[in-house]
C-alpha cells in the first residue's frame, strides 16, 4: 500500500473526501442480459468502476485434456480493457490479471454445482471497461449475477467487497484516491445467506481491532449489495 500519511482523506467527523461515512459504499447499479449473444450476462457499475460479464455454457470442454469426468470446469478470465485506466492498459498477458482470474475462479468453483455437468466447461469472461478501485470485487460479484442469469445452479450468490484503512481510520469500499494512498485493503467474497467466505485477500497493515472492524464493514455491506443483486435478477427475469 502507498501509505502516504500526509494526504488527508477523512476529517475529524469521519466524513470522507467524497462525502461518505466510514461504513458507506459507493453507488451501485446492476443490470442483466447486457450481452445478448451470451447465455447469461451482467453489467455492474460501482462508483466509476464498470464490469461486463458474459457466461457461456455449460458447453463441450476442449481441449479434452481439461475435461473432468466427474464435474464441469470453469474457465474464468478477468481482463481490463485498454481504455479502462488513466494510462492506457496494454492488451495482452499480465500477471495481475492472471492472479485475479485464478482467485475469482477458485471463489466461483466453490459455489457452482459443478458435479451436475460432468465433462463440460462453463466460460466466464469478466471485462473491466472502467476501473476505479476494487475491480476484482466488482468482477466477482457481477460474475455470480451473470451465472445466475444463465440459470447455472449455485449454492449462493457471491458478494465481494473490500474495506481498508485511510489516515488510520478503517473505512469500507475504498475509492481510487483512498486506494492509492490507503494503508490497508481487505477484499472478501461473502456468501450472503450463510455469512461464509469463498474469497479472501489482504495487504497492508491492520491491528487486530482494525481487522475486526474491516471484517464487520464487509459483512454489513454484503447484505446491502445482495439486495441489489436479487432485485436485478428479478427484474431481468420479469422482462
Amino acid at each position: 500500500m502507498g501509505g502516504y500519511g500526509d494526504v488527508q482523506m477523512i476529517d475529524e467527523n469521519g466524513v470522507r473526501a467524497d462525502g461518505r461515512g466510514p461504513g458507506d459504499i459507493r453507488p451501485i447499479t446492476i443490470e442483466t442480459g447486457v450481452v445478448p449473444v451470451a447465455d447469461g450476462s451482467c453489467r455492474m457499475t460501482w462508483g466509476t468502476n464498470e464490469a461486463i460479464v458474459a457466461v457461456y455454457g455449460p458447453m463441450e470442454a476442449h481441449p479434452r485434456k481439461i475435461q473432468r469426468q466427474d464435474r464441469a470446469v470453469l474457465d474464468v478470465a478477468y481482463n481490463m480493457a485498454p481504455f479502462s485506466t488513466t494510462d492506457r492498459m496494454r492488451p495482452g498477458f499480465n500477471r495481475r490479471s492472471r492472479e485475479v482470474s485464478k482467485v475469482t475462479q477458485d471463489a466461483l468453483e466453490s459455489v457452482v454445482l459443478l458435479e451436475l455437468y460432468p465433462r463440460s466447461k462453463i466460460r466466464i469472461s469478466i471485462e473491466i471497461v472502467s476501473a476505479e478501485a476494487g475491480t476484482r470485487c466488482v468482477g466477482l460479484t457481477a460474475a455470480s449475477v451473470a451465472l445466475a442469469d444463465a440459470g447455472i445452479p449455485m449454492t449462493d450468490l457471491v458478494v465481494s467487497v473490500a474495506s481498508g484503512k485511510i489516515n488510520d481510520v478503517v473505512v469500507c469500499d475504498l475509492n481510487k484516491e483512498e486506494d492509492n494512498y490507503g494503508e490497508a485493503d481487505l477484499p472478501m467474497g461473502i456468501l450472503p445467506n450463510s455469512g461464509e467466505l469463498v474469497f479472501l485477500q489482504m495487504d497492508g497493515d491492520l491491528s487486530q481491532d482494525e481487522f475486526k472492524q474491516a471484517w464487520k464493514y464487509n459483512m454489513d455491506a454484503a447484505q446491502e449489495i445482495h439486495k441489489l443483486m436479487v432485485e436485478a435478477l428479478k427484474e431481468g427475469d420479469s422482462q
Binding site: 449473444v37 480493457a81 485498454p82 481504455f83 492506457r88 469478466i126 471497461v129
Partner: protein, 259 residues
C-alpha cells in the same frame, strides 16, 4: 476463432430466402438493423462511444500518449487503432494472442479513419522533433451478432469526434477538443444466399460467403476497401454495392452529426 461447422441446412435455408428476396430476420436486402449510438460513456477514456446494431454491441475508447515524433516527420503526431474481440463477445471467440480476424478488423477500420485525413497529424505536434501526441483508438467488442466492422468503424469515429486532448494531465497546456475534420463511414456487404446484403447478422455470416467493406468520406471519396473470405464477385455486383454504400454512409453520417 474456432471454425464453426456450417450446417448445410442453414446455407440452403438462406438460399431459399434469397430466392424470395427475403432475409432470415425479416429485413430487406439493404436494410440495416436498429441502431443506437452513444458517446462519452466511459469515465477513464478521453473519448468514448458505444454502438448497438441489433444484438451486436461494441465500445470504442480513445487514449492519448506523448511520443517522440519520427525523425522523418518531426512535426507530426500519430494515430493508432487496434481492435480486440475477446471471448466475452461470443462463444466462438477464444482468448490468446489476437486472431487474424481481429487483426483484419482493426486494420481495415484503421485505414478508413487514417486515409480519410479526418485527424490532422500536424496539429498533434507539441514541440517539433521532441514531443507529439499519439492518439490511440481501442475498439472492443461486447456482443458479436455479426458485422463488427461497421459497428467498430462507427464507434471509432464517434469516440474520436468526442475526444478531449488531456494536456493538463501531461502538463503541456490546457485541455482541448481533438479536431476531427471529416466523418468517414464504413458500409459492409456479405454474400448471403448468392447475393449481397447490407449489415449481415452472425447467422448470415456463418452461412454466407465473401464480404466487402467500403469506407467513404464526407464527399463520398473512397478511403478504404477490403474484400474478405473466399468468393468471386463481378464488377456489376460491386457497382450495385458502391451505389448503396453512398446512400447508407450519408444516413450514418447524419446520425453521428446530430449527436
Amino acid at each position: 476463432m474456432t471454425i464453426p461447422i456450417v450446417p448445410k441446412l442453414l446455407r440452403s435455408h438462406l438460399s431459399d430466402l434469397a430466392e424470395r428476396d427475403a432475409r432470415i430476420d425479416g429485413r430487406g436486402r439493404w436494410e440495416g438493423r436498429e441502431l443506437e449510438v452513444q458517446h462519452s460513456i466511459l469515465p477513464r477514456a478521453e473519448g468514448s462511444a458505444r454502438v448497438r446494431m441489433g444484438d451486436t454491441i461494441v465500445l470504442a475508447g480513445v487514449k492519448f500518449q506523448i511520443m517522440t515524433p519520427y525523425p522523418d516527420r518531426p512535426n507530426q503526431g500519430g494515430l493508432m487503432c487496434s481492435a480486440e474481440v475477446r471471448p466475452v463477445a461470443g462463444r466462438n471467440w477464444e482468448s490468446g494472442p489476437p486472431s487474424p480476424e481481429s487483426i483484419e478488423l482493426g486494420r481495415v477500420v484503421d485505414r478508413g479513419i487514417r486515409e480519410s485525413g479526418c485527424i490532422d497529424v500536424d496539429s498533434l505536434c507539441i514541440i517539433p522533433g521532441e514531443k507529439a501526441w499519439q492518439v490511440i483508438l481501442d475498439l472492443f467488442a461486447i456482443s458479436d451478432d455479426g458485422n463488427l466492422f461497421d459497428a467498430f468503424a462507427l464507434a471509432g469515429i464517434t469516440a474520436l469526434r468526442n475526444a478531449t486532448v488531456p494536456a493538463e494531465r501531461f502538463e503541456v497546456g490546457e485541455d482541448y477538443q481533438l479536431s476531427v475534420s471529416k466523418t468517414p463511414m464504413m458500409c459492409s456487404y456479405h454474400r448471403v444466399g448468392g447475393r449481397f446484403v447490407f449489415d449481415a447478422t452472425a447467422r448470415e455470416e456463418l452461412g454466407g460467403d465473401e464480404r466487402i467493406h467500403i469506407t467513404l468520406g464526407d464527399d463520398n471519396n473512397v478511403h478504404s476497401l477490403q474484400k474478405g473470405l473466399k468468393g468471386i464477385f463481378s464488377a456489376e455486383e460491386f457497382t450495385e454495392i458502391m451505389d448503396n454504400a453512398i446512400e447508407r454512409a450519408e444516413e450514418l453520417r447524419k446520425i453521428v452529426d446530430e449527436l
